[in-house]
Structure formats: C-alpha cells, structure tokens
Amino acid sequence: MQDRLFSVIRGLKADYIEVRLDESQSSRLAYRGERLEEAGRTASTGGCVRALIKGGWGFASFNSIDRLAESAATAVEQASHVGKGRSEFSPSRAVIDKIEAEYKKNPVEVPLSAKKSILDEYNSIMLGTPGIQTTSVGYADIKKKVIFANSDGSYIEQSRIDLNLRLSAIASRDGDVQQVGLSIGSKGDFSTVEGLQERVGGIARRAVALLSAPEFKGGTFTVVLDPVLAGVFVHEAFGHLSEADHIYENPQMRDIMVLGRSFGGQHLNIVDGAAVPGLRGSYSYDDEGTPASKTYLIKEGVLNSRLHSRETAAKMGEKPTGNARAINFNFPPIVRMTNTYIEPGATTFNDMISGIKEGVYARDWYGGTTSLEMFTFSAGEAYMIRDGKVAEMIRPVVLSGNVFTTLHNIDAIGDDLDMNQGGGCGKASQSPLPVSNGSPHIRIQNCLVGGK
C-alpha cells in the first residue's frame, strides 16, 4: 500500500498533497423503553486526497480505492483552480510509523449477546424505578484503521477503538416530562461500561425527583460547577476560541487573541493535548502527520498558545500542535480539540461553597455550544446553594457567559481534577468527534443562568 500511495503522490504536482484511507467496523445496540429497536453492524471503507497549490485547496473523497488516481487528479485540478497566491504550510519531517489500537478490554471481541445482557440489566434498573415512563439506551463501538501518506514522505498507519454508551431515564407525571442522562465513552476499554448499576439507578431516581423540583428563576448568580460540567465549560468557553482557524485570517481576532493577554487569575491553567495518554482524544499523529503534543492554552491566567494545523501555524508564524483532525474520509482535517482541561488548584469543595449565601451548584452535562465570544452550557443536575450548603434540587439550568469576562470571574479552582469521556465535539458538520474534557470543581462569580 505504501508504494501505491507514494506512486500516486509522486505522479502529481502540488505544493503539498496527502492521501488518507479509512476502514472501519462498528456495532450498535439501541433501546427505547423495553424494546430493543436496533441491533446493527456497519462496515465502511473509503478515502480522500487533499492538495494544496498556491494557497488554494482541492479535496476529493471516494468510496472505492479504484477511484484513487482519478480523485487525486481531481483534487490537484481543483486546487490549481483555487490557488492564486502563495502556499503557507509548516514543514514536517517524514515519519514512517505504525500505531496499533490500544485497548484494555477490547469491545470488538465482546460478543453482542454479552453487550446486550449488560444493557438489558441497566435498562431494567431504570424501567423498574417507580415513576419512570420510558428510557433510551444507545451503545456503539467502532474499530477504525487510518492509513495516511503525504508528499513529505510520511506513511502512517493508525488503528483505534472507540466506544460510547448513552442512557436516558424519562419520568412523566400529569403531562410533565423530565429526563436525566448518562454518557460514558472510552478509547478501547469495555470495562468502563460495566458495573454502572449504582449510577444507572441514580439517574432514574433523579429523573423522578425532577418532577417535584421547582422551576428556577433566572438571573446572575455565584455558580459552582462539578468537574464534568466545568469540563464542558472549558471546552465551550475557551477551547473553541483557541482553535487557530477562527483567528488566523482575521486581523481583529488576532489582536484580541494576542499571546500574553490576560484571560483569568494566576490560578488558571488550561491545557489541550492528544499526547496526554489513554483518553478519548489521545492519538500519536494528527491527520496531517504532525506528532501529538500537549499545549498550555492558558498559563497562570495568560494566553500562552493555541491549537494549530500546519496551515494556521505557518500563517501565524507559530508551531503546529498536532490538532488537525478529520472525522472520516469524507472531510478534510480542520483544527480540533483533543483532551482539554483546567489544571487542579488547591481549594476543597467545602471551602468553595462555604461562603456562598445564595448560589447554584450545577452538575453533569446535557450540552454546550459557543459563538466564540458567547457560550452556553447546560447542566444535567442542579441544586441551590444556601448559606454555604448544597440545598434543594432545582430543574436543570442553562448557563451562559462571555469569554472575555467569565474566565476572569473564576475565583476558586478545586483540587479534584476529573476527566469526562462521554462527550463528542461538533464543528463544520464533523460530529461527533471523540474528545475528552475535564476540570476540578470551579466557582464562577456573576454567572448568567437562564430560567423562567
């Protein structure tokens, strides 16, 4: 294969050219209430060619390797149609490497019947909880091999195994419907979805309890986020703004995002890196052949670095960080996060809430999104904090902030870093990309919370 790809690449003229071939197998199980709605298997093969000529890009994807040569010619022709200027693309050393899939307990080798019996048990725990109307359960695992070759002379084979389990318990009474979910993900360790009986029972009981929880009246509050929701917060509030493709061709954004600018207190350190091992966003090389790294986005409150592809790095005069990722062969790589987290501080949870007269303790996640400047993220679980103690449960809340003020308003960072591996990230139609994010507990002053 190596020779075949190199011969296609060598036969074409471009400033840069790369070929990516994907092969994957996945299995899925889905329930609605008592019904198993889907037991299915998927196989996928395909590839793509991307070419850069005079600053213009061409990209062609195909399903059959027989189309490789023709697609490569198309990509080059398209690139030359677009290119009018000069190509800027960070150089990279040629790498020949083969990375086997890491796994602790390989989900692909677990028989479908064993997967089903675990899901059956979780589902019956939820359905057996008084007040639960229905449930939704979805499990999927995927084994994927990506072969990459480029005009630098790199040839890299990488295999990975990813799995994801999502459970929702839905409670209903008098026309009111409430739901609580749990999402677990892992890079190749099936045991992460085993032994969840306690937590599954907990989400079902919480869904029922939400029916009696009061509505929340919105406003600005002191908010404490648990590690899971704070992880979603850091992903939405700052991670996306760190992606250099939002910045590199925008002079005003470059002024705003100048390295050295203060974004928060000295206690604030934000990291992203695929080189952080064993997490869902971990890998050895990105989809441009750049080795993974660990990047301090914010160091001691100050903007320290950002996430790059080889093009954004070259155009900004910075170093590539190995963050160019494509979800599959139908898309070119774009700048993405990997494993993003706030480093732990020293404050205990009790010290964090003890001084709060009235506030909100928001836990777990339901979703999050950003416009770069403003962002929202929603809690899966929320409580009032009254006189320094966690008090009554309230209906889940949506929180919102502005990146230029909210990070400054973090005034306490906990000592209990935890990584959430249950999420997926969406950008430019490429969703859900496996990522992880995390944080210790954090406290935010003056945070906008939606409510009726």
């Binding site: 299915g40 196989a43 062609a60 149609h81 419907v177 919102s400 939606g450």
Partner: protein, 432 residues
C-alpha cells in the same frame, strides 16, 4: 442490489435493500476569498432482513462483498426485534419534482462568482466584515428493493448557498448569515445578500435590556432555531408511543392558538425535503400535524406504526441506522401581519433571530433556554439595537397557546422548514 437480495433469500424469510449514491461539489469561501473546492462521492447500502421472525440490520459505506453484508445482518437478527410489518412490495408513487438536470450543468466558475458576488456586496455594505460559507451542488439517487418484488428509485438534485459574516468591533463579535437551498439552481444571490445586510443594519449598535417578561417576536430563523425541535419531538410517533410526548392524549384537542397550522409536506415541487417515497418505500404524503390549533396526528415509520396500531404516514427516515420517524419539510402557514407592523405594535419587546443552545434544554417537555446570539430590542414600536449577554427561557406550549400575530413574511430556512415570524405575548428574559 438484486445480488444482495438473492443471497439474503437463501437464509432469510424476507429482505429489503436501500441504497443512496451521491456526488456533491461544495465550493468553500473563507476570509472573503475562495479557499477550497471539494468533490465528495459516496455510496451507502443498508440491508434489513427477517430471519426466524426477527429483524436483522447491517449497512456498509463503500464497497462490501454482498455475502458479507448478508452475514452481518443475519448475525444481528438473533438479537433483533420481532418483525411486525412486511416490507412494501407494491411500489408506485405520485410524481414529485425533485430533479433538475440544470444543477449538474452549473459550472464551478458560476458557483464561485455567485458566492463572491454575495461576499463583495456584504463587504461593500460593512467594512471589516469577514465572510465564510459555501455554494454547493449535488445529485443523489435513492433506490429501494425488497424480496416481495418491490423496487423504486428517485434521483434528486440539490443546490445551496450558505454564507455567514463575522464582524469584530471593540471586542464584540457579531454573526449574521443566511442559508437557502433548492432542488433547482439558485442563480440570483440578491435575497441572500439582502437578508445578511438587513441583519447587519439592525445590529449596528447595541441596546440595553433588563431582566423581566416581555413580548417576543421570533423571526423565521429564530423560530426554526428555538421552537421547532420540541414540536418535532412531540409529534414523533415514537415519542408518543413511549408516553414521553406531552401531546400523547391530545389528538383532536385544541392545544395551540387557533391560527396555528403546521403541515409536513414532502410534495412541494423542487423543495429539498420533498420526495415521492420515504426511506422504507412508503409513499410520502402531505400530513397536517396542527390544524387551527388542534393536534391532528402524529408521524410514523413502519415499525413504530405497527407497535402503535397505526399506519405508516410515510415518515420512515434513515439517519445512519435503522429507519425511524422523521419529518420531511415542515410548513407553518403564514398570517397577514408584516414584521414591521408587529414591531410597531410593541411598546417594549425582544426580536429573536438566532438563539444559541436552545436545543440543550428539556425538549421533551417543550422547554427551551438559550443565549440570544442575534436579537434586537424593541422600544416604542422601533428596533433600538442588538441585545447582548442576554438569555431567554420559555416553553413552546405556553408560547404558542395564544399568539399576538402571525407574520406575512414566510420563508424557507435551509429548505426544510417554511415559517413566518410569530409574535408571542411573553417570554422570560435574563440579562446581565
């Protein structure tokens, strides 16, 4: 496809193959300039089969030996649900126009100049704005065949313009944009340019807003982005079957304002959501969901309908796995009040153009809550500027129970929903 069915027939009682073959050519702009041209080819094949009365499922993207696909489906059938419906065997359909050969003849250079002309006009209106987006053309062929002898195919073209502008000023970021889509070429860029410039003009300055309850106007974009997801969920036959829809016992009952008419209509010529048959080979048809405020019916695929003792409404859709109920193209009937008159009638209120995070609330219950990414403050009958750092929260059933006015400004959003502006009496606003 016949080969797959032949192999499946040897081991299964019945089988159905669904295949989509597509080619799409998007032209991407970034930072006001042409950046990338793409060509995306794909073929995906899905097989459902019934073995020992149970449903098996497998799909493949790209080439796969037919025997492998059949074996994968046979393996999953051991765990599948009890087959409770037959794959359609008689397939004849009313014609719906969804193919325009002109689309394939639009050259790359015409697409480039179309995109560049919108960008140039927007940049001429507002200095410093950076536009990105794409012009895309594509053709997809849908084929379905079953062991019962049924066979159907449909070729559909698509052309779309999607452009967003980002304006950074004083550490403040403004987003504007428009998206239009059709089965025919869109050759006139002026509606897109006009819409983007309209948004820019209204958002020129920021206006203060205080927390409290106030009347709200959802523009077509605002409505599509905040109120539709809860309704789509509540009318889904599967949500109803599971008892998780607030409308489950409301058929025939008035739930919404009597002016509200909501229809799923896949029969409108050259709309991207239109189709002669759904992804299970059931004829697609016009279904009224809300008629004069009353809940008319829910939408079903074959499996859900069989479980619910109903019939498929032609809403079987494949979003990457087994078919499930999904709407084709929603139409909310317009009224007779112009958006300008709606604004004129408000002493104080908010106009919502884009709500961020609306789908993150408890959609099942009709709740939504989000940050007003683009919205305007109304005072004494006039828009005074853009609101920022503001959240709104509401519930679809409360908001649409009694509306103040239905707009005369219906338009399609991305080709999948047509709606006017709607003015509602009260929404909760939380501001900094």
């Amino acid at each position: 496809m016949e080969q797959i069915l032949d192999i499946a027939r040897r081991s299964a009682q019945s089988a159905e193959v669904f295949r989509v073959t597509s080619i799409r050519t998007p032209v991407h702009f970034e930072a006001n300039r042409l950046k990338q041209i793409q060509t995306k080819e794909s073929v995906a094949t899905a097989l459902r089969l019934v073995k020992d009365g149970k449903m098996g499922f497998a799909q493949a993207s790209g080439h796969i030996p037919p025997a492998d696909l059949v074996n994968m489906a046979l393996e999953t059938s051991q765990f599948g649900y009890q087959a409770n419906f037959a794959f359609p065997s008689l397939m004849s359909f009313e014609k719906v126009d969804v193919f325009d050969p002109q689309v394939e003849h639009i050259g790359i250079d015409s697409m480039i100049s179309l995109g560049q002309s919108v960008i140039d006009a927007v940049c001429a209106n507002t200095a410093g704005i950076l536009c990105e987006g794409s012009i895309s053309r594509g053709t997809a062929t849908f084929e379905i065949a079953s062991t019962g002898g049924g066979h159907a195919s449909c070729k559909r073209t698509n052309f779309s313009i999607s452009l967003d502008g980002m304006l950074v000023r004083d550490g403040d970021i403004l987003y504007v944009g428009d998206i239009r889509s059709s089965c025919r070429p869109i050759l006139d860029p002026s509606p897109v340019t006009g819409e983007i410039i309209r948004q820019l003009d209204l958002a020129r300055t920021n206006a203060p807003i205080k927390s409290g309850n106030m009347p709200v106007i959802f523009t077509p974009f605002g409505l599509a982005g905040s109120l539709l997801a809860p309704l789509i969920s509540a009318f889904n036959g599967k949500t109803v079957l599971d008892g998780a829809s607030p409308l489950k016992e409301k058929r025939g009952m008035p739930v919404f304002d009597s002016r509200l008419m909501l229809t799923d209509d896949p029969t409108i010529p050259y709309q991207p959501g239109s189709t002669p048959f759904d992804d299970e080979g059931v004829p697609a048809r016009r279904n009224a969901l809300i008629d004069h405020g009353k809940v008319v019916q829910f939408y079903y695929d074959l499996h859900t309908a069989a479980l619910a003792g109903a019939s498929s409404t032609g809403n079987g859709s494949r979003g990457g796995g087994m078919p499930s109920p999904s709407v084709h193209a929603l139409v909310i009937e317009g009224g007779n009040v112009s958006q300008a008159d709606m604004i004129k009638d408000l002493k104080e209120g908010i106009v919502i153009e884009q709500l961020m995070g609306a789908e993150q609330g408890n959609i099942l219950n009709g709740d939504f809550s989000g940050n007003v990414l683009l919205g305007y403050k109304v005072e004494n009958g006039e828009i005074t500027g853009r609101v920022k750092d503001t959240m709104v929260s509401g519930n679809v059933y409360q908001l649409l129970k009694e509306v103040l006015a239905m707009g005369s400004d219906s338009r399609w959003i991305a080709g999948y929903v047509s709606t006017p502006s709607i003015c509602c009496p009260s929404i909760a606003v939380s501001a900094k």
